[in-house]
Symmetry: C2
Subunit: 234 residues, 2 copies
């Protein structure tokens, strides 16, 4: 089974949704047969390439007090064990971060891409790091066992930029206008940072349809010996 | 939050449901604030106190071929990573096993009771052990750090028997006629070995009602700065 997660590293609900999805996957008995692929999206393709304080950026974009209004997000993050520090965060164009994510998937596979995305989220939302700074990105890449020098070399070229752009345009053609969006086996979409149980239900449902019976629900009434439909009666 | 699990150690869906519930709990971010208590139930209070091969017992109770009809249960168990060996299992009265479970909860608390219940399920369904044999029960109790001698002494008396019986009668008065049944905070019942996502949804829902907002769902539309209802838009 393949799950594609469309997200932007600057999107707070994407980080929360990623954590909830991860919890769902940890409860899914067939997790080792699930491949997770991150797809790029940009909330603000015109964001500056030089970072600015996030509160100032948000107020410029959404009006006075915008940063202070993020309390629902902060609370939801805390409930998942994530610490958001909006006041310390830096807004910047996420194009290079997405190029790096693409490189991670291409050269190291989905597991490394996933670790990198989680490191990027944490760097942006919890650690006040500048995801527009290439040395910072290279250091984060080294943290997931990528070659920092190779990453720095890649980022200073335009390699991957057109491909990331093409993927974002493909997402828009698929009708994706908000993130996170989770696509299960190319067939089902789950939009938004839904509750963990919703992700788990989608995993169970798609697994059942793909692999067949016995895969999660209480099954048919084929049981006997006092036990049917997931219960035993006395 | 308190979850009461009504089950019988001789009930295959109880073992499967227990594993699914455990998976749900592992995905729940507030698991450390959940107390799990096992309540007794007996599918066959008149089961023999001397064990007999389970296939023979099932055919005596439910007719020829009853054991072979358990394939749905075996398949569901396998999908959860559990191995059922019905052909090697021994049917026996579960009264002593329930008395032991009660002792575990009383003297060591819910964590030990839970480990014991899982050991009892595995012993019965996977290992062909005789849960009517007191030395076997004492050995299983030692495996979860209980005092085997103390357990053996307890089991040879009638201690706890009336209390287990009273709990089973209370369950029937609550309307419980099939197991497993999961009762969430004394308010919601989930009947049967439902899918893991169903248990997780119940945990999220009861948590939200008990503790308040931000507890699992995508929340209200109070967000701002392009981010509301669990999504961010560009």
């Amino acid at each position: 089974m393949r799950i594609e997660i469309y997200s932007d590293v600057a999107c707070p609900w994407c980080y929360i949704g990623d954590r909830r999805f991860e919890r769902a996957l940890s409860a899914f008995p067939h997790a080792d047969e699930v491949e997770v692929v991150y797809r790029p999206y940009q909330l603000d393709p015109g964001a500056p390439t030089e970072s600015v304080p996030l509160p100032r950026y948000l107020e410029g974009r959404f009006g006075a007090g915008a940063a202070a209004k993020m309390s629902q997000v902060v609370e939801a993050a805390a409930s998942e064990g994530l610490t958001f520090r909006f006041e310390d965060a830096l807004a910047v164009n996420t194009g290079d971060a997405h190029r790096l994510s693409r490189l991670a998937a291409q050269e190291h596979g989905p597991e490394v891409q996933r670790s990198l995305m989680q490191a990027l989220f944490a760097a942006h939302f919890a650690e006040g790091k500048d995801l527009g700074d290439r040395a910072t990105l290279a250091a984060l890449a080294e943290g997931v066992a990528m070659d920092g020098k190779r990453v720095l070399g890649y980022l200073t070229t335009d390699e991957g930029r057109a491909e990331v752009q093409a993927e974002i345009e493909a997402a828009r053609r698929l009708g994706i206008e908000a993130v996170p969006t989770f696509v299960f086996d190319g067939r089902y979409g789950v939009s938004g940072a839904q509750a963990t149980s919703v992700f788990l239900q989608a995993l169970e449902q798609v697994w059942k349809e793909t692999v067949g019976a016995g895969a999660g629900s209480i099954g048919s009434d084929a049981g006997d010996a006092g036990c049917a439909d997931g219960s035993c009666v006395s």
